[in-house]
Subunit: 163 residues, 2 copies
DNA sequence: TTAGCATCATTGACACGTCAACCGGTAGGT
DNA sequence: ACCTACCGGTTGACGTGTCAATGATGCTAA
């Protein structure tokens, strides 16, 4: 297939004008979609999508608590990012941090009642926004295609410099 | 079609588990793709994608200069965002700002030679990265599908609260 | 024992975005 | 002429993200 379409996978270095146009549409639209979701969530609940990820993970954790590093890897964040974010969330009373009693060097992050409350209030409008802005915008076939595209892009991202 | 698939477009409020999984894959992967491009560009040229957009627009403008508001609408940024960004770019010597001689209240943004230089150096690696991380990660059919998905999502974003 | 050494987490500096307030100038209506 | 309203642009405050440096703690090998 790569042989049968000369120039497609071959020595060409740069995207064509069409590919570039699609690239720009794609990356800008997905970014705009993210921002829209962000501001919807903000308006509906005064939470950011970062807050939401953290609260979701803690809500599902047993005891409504997780080790910081565990939380970081669970939601795929760098520890530094999480630490900054937890600081801001702690100031707003959404979570608490305490030295883990069991593990010596481990910081436990725990959901406060205010945090659990905020998460419960945010869930429904957030999911509704996802449905309106993503699910309902696409045909069922396009949703499947979007999943496959994400998988293909992710695979490429995971092998940073292969070839 | 919407009638033939009961429940699909009907009274349901929330995404299904499958839709939600695809949503997360999709939004997280596209965000990660953006970050990867950003850091590739940063490493190759010490420019951000924001810098790149500004420099691209100025490079293509006649006289390598544009009015600030014109530039903002050309690349789709808020005025405030552009103003902050131009301040940072000016500090690095990539652009200059001056009162427009012709239009009284208009600020002209002009490309410096350093800015033009930086842009020229960034173009090739940036386009190559787009090809590696996006174009080459997808089949030709998937690229077309990505374009259609972007168009559909954009259409929904442009009518914020329609229905 | 102690000298590294990796790991967990935090911190500071900085770039980036958004929001709301502000400023100066121009245009319109009275 | 004067008041007002808008328009182009800037600024400040703040939340957010990355990177590099730092503490603090446990592990391992001399």
């Amino acid at each position: 297939m790569t042989e049968a379409t000369p120039g497609r996978r071959g020595g060409r270095q740069l995207p064509t004008a069409d590919e570039l146009r699609i690239w720009r549409d794609f990356i800008e639209t997905t970014a705009a979609l993210g921002s829209r979701l962000e501001s919807r969530l903000q308006g509906d609940s005064s939470l950011s999508t970062g807050d939401y990820s953290v609260l979701l993970a803690l809500s599902e954790a047993e005891g409504q608590a997780m080790r910081s590093s565990e939380l970081a890897s669970h939601i795929g964040w760098e520890r530094s990012r999480l630490s900054h974010h937890l600081g801001r969330m702690e100031r707003r009373g959404l979570i608490r941090r305490q030295e883990s009693a069991t593990v010596p060097r481990g910081a436990e992050v725990l959901l406060t009642t205010a945090g659990a409350e905020a998460f419960r209030g945010a869930t429904f409008p957030h999911l509704r926004a996802i449905r309106e802005l993503f699910v309902d915008a696409l045909t069922p076939e396009q949703i499947v295609a979007a999943g496959e595209i994400a998988t293909a892009l992710r695979a490429r991202l995971d092998v940073p410099r292969a070839q």
